[in-house]
């Protein structure tokens, strides 16, 4: 382990390092693969209020440089979270981030209030899951619906509130600003890109649900672009997410303006990747002689004519 200071600030929170898992790609099952307290934070799979079965199988398929998933949000509901999950995660030092989602504003608001419990460090509002509504629809596709849902959630909690955005929008900056204006303390850029794959022999989609969310290295340039756009246009911190697998990927997002990053699909290829990234980032900081990550966050030099 290196001695470099990897801590980063996300509004009122301070993380020991900027590496955390992406929602839906992490669970207690990883605890006996490496020490989860090495992570900057723990972000849980999105929960919904009631119990849900999730989507039909196949729920995943692989692609060149990435994968599609249509897990849906199989959920054991709020009670299971309170009685089983929360106590388990309270056993760690790393701050706990609870991801929530809902179909309606009322349900979303209610769930937000219900998970605002001691031991929860922040709430990530998954307003961008393409696998809940038909055709991948989600609140974060439009500024007005983003504003509305964030306003409702903000009213229900005093915890730091993160808005997880979607790349499936033509207005990422307006959406990000709507989230900030309505109380988001940080942005996560981004959830999966809506995609599809067909098995040409059966003529059926390769996912049981038809369409699904694309993740992995293939979406990295899109997520990086959104991270840059949002960091430039907003004052709240941005957490980069999409295709991060190597130290260079982490640095790319930090340089683009991310204050921290989430790692998803890469954990499926190598379950210990996040532990390695923390160690490698420390080594890199020492080798570069950098005292703080703030020296590189947002340090991209854009060409003339582009507002950096």
């Amino acid at each position: 382990m290196s001695a470099a200071d990897l801590s980063v600030r996300l509004g009122a929170m301070t993380l020991a390092n900027p590496i955390m898992p992406a929602s839906g790609t992490f669970s207690e099952d990883l605890a006996d693969v490496f020490d989860l307290d090495l992570l900057g934070a723990h972000v849980l799979k999105t929960i919904m209020r009631g119990t849900r079965a999730g989507n039909p199988v196949p729920r995943v398929c692989d692609l060149q440089g990435g994968m599609l998933n249509a897990i849906g949000i199989p959920s054991k509901g709020i009670e299971d979270f309170r009685s089983r999950m929360l106590p388990y995660w309270q056993g760690y030092r790393a701050p706990l981030v609870v991801s929530i989602s809902a179909h309606t504003l009322d349900e979303f608001a209610r769930l937000c209030a219900e998970v605002s419990l001691p031991g929860v460090a922040a709430i990530e509002a998954n307003i961008s899951c393409p696998n809940i509504e038909a055709d991948g629809n989600a609140f974060a596709m439009r500024p007005d619906t983003t504003a509305e849902v964030m306003r409702r959630l903000r009213a229900e909690t005093d915890l730091p509130l993160w808005a997880k955005l979607t790349p499936n929008t033509g207005e990422p900056v307006a959406v990000a600003q709507a989230a900030e204006a309505n109380g988001a303390d940080a942005l996560v850029t981004a959830n999966t890109a809506l995609g599809m794959a067909i098995d040409v022999r059966t003529r059926r989609p390769r996912l049981g649900n038809g369409m699904g969310g694309m993740s992995g290295p293939a979406v990295k340039p899109i997520a990086l672009r959104m991270t840059y756009q949002c960091a430039r246009a907003c004052t709240i911190p941005v957490i980069g997410c999409g295709g991060i697998a190597t130290l260079d990927d982490v640095l790319e997002f930090l340089i683009a303006g991310a204050s921290a990053v989430q790692v998803g699909t890469a954990t499926f290829q190598s379950p210990t990747v996040m532990a390695r990234l923390v160690a490698e980032l420390g080594d890199w900081m020492q080798a570069q002689g950098l005292a703080s990550l703030s020296e590189i966050i947002g340090s991209v030099e854009m060409p003339e004519g582009e507002a950096a």
């Binding site: 099952d29 693969v33 989860l36 390695r276």
Partner: protein, 281 residues
């Protein structure tokens, strides 16, 4: 340059032993065993060789020309030998991932993650075991047969196939002291009806304490029916599309019968071996 097998080590929480590990193995051989199957033998580090029959690994398959398998591919452990430092997989070349495996040459590297999942259980009172295998299910049952022999069980293996060309599996199960019965589609001996008679005769003779099987829905239904009628327990190894292999992503669920009703379980974590009667064909 000689490469040696190694494990990616990472810090664990105090007192926690890693359940599985990511290892770089060296290919010892990768030989065709008949038209469709290949046997891959790896030199593996000790950290991944504390295996149970029925468990599996997730293999990071090399890319064959023009194809790009991205996710790891699940493969049952066909053989493991901690002393010899060896790990074996028997695989059928099906798509991009297994075509990639087929490109491996001796001396090459393969990244494996495992051992994963829950293997077969073999309680003391299950002394007379009936294995019913078809297709690549053989790969999954082979280490079970070996363990059964070591703990002195009686073993019968019904090997089912399209055509009567099962030399490899027959020899293998015989080698583990099993009585082997070959059934196949061409003479109709592999139909559920034919198998039912055959198995019921053995049950009547008091020769079946437990069933073990994998894969095929037809076999599952037959054994469930026989199990229920005659009060015989058993286990089945199941398959499902996977992403993480560790229980995190919920890709690999299948429905199971429980007292309260139907529940979804993860093949990679609660399985791949499940109680026969709880499985849904």
């Amino acid at each position: 340059m000689t490469l040696s097998p190694s494990v990616l080590s990472v810090p664990m929480a105090p007192g926690v032993l890693p359940r599985c590990a990511e290892a770089r193995c060296v290919v010892r051989s990768n030989l065709p065993v008949n038209g469709e199957y290949r046997l891959l033998t790896l030199d593996a580090p000790p950290e991944v060789l504390d295996c149970q029959p029925g468990q599996f690994f997730q293999l990071l398959c090399p890319e064959p020309e023009g194809e790009h398998p991205f996710l790891r591919r699940p493969m049952s452990i066909y053989g493991y030998d901690a002393e010899a430092g060896q790990l074996q997989f028997l695989y059928k070349v099906a798509g991009a991932g297994t075509r990639g495996l087929a490109t491996l040459r001796p001396g090459g590297m393969l990244n494996v993650l495992g051992p994963l999942g829950q293997g077969f259980s073999m309680p003391q009172h299950w002394q007379d075991l009936l294995l019913v295998a078809r297709g690549v299910g053989l790969a999954t049952l082979a280490p079970l047969a070996r363990a059964a022999q070591r703990s002195g069980r009686r073993l019968t293996a019904i090997c089912s196939a399209r055509r009567p060309e099962l030399a490899m599996s027959v020899d293998l199960f015989r080698g583990y002291g099993a009585e082997v019965i070959v059934v196949h589609d061409e003479d109709g001996s592999s139909t559920p009806e034919a198998l039912r008679g055959l198995i019921e005769a053995r049950i009547a003779a008091g020769r079946v304490d437990a069933f073990y099987t994998c894969g095929s829905s037809r076999l599952l239904r037959l054994l469930q029916d026989l199990g229920q009628r005659h009060g015989i327990p058993g286990e089945i190894a199941m398959e499902q599309q996977m992403a993480c292999g560790l229980g995190m992503c919920q890709a690999c669920v299948r429905p199971f019968r429980e007292e309260g009703g139907i529940v979804q379980r993860r093949v990679c974590r609660e399985g791949p071996v499940f109680p026969l009667l709880e499985a849904i064909a």
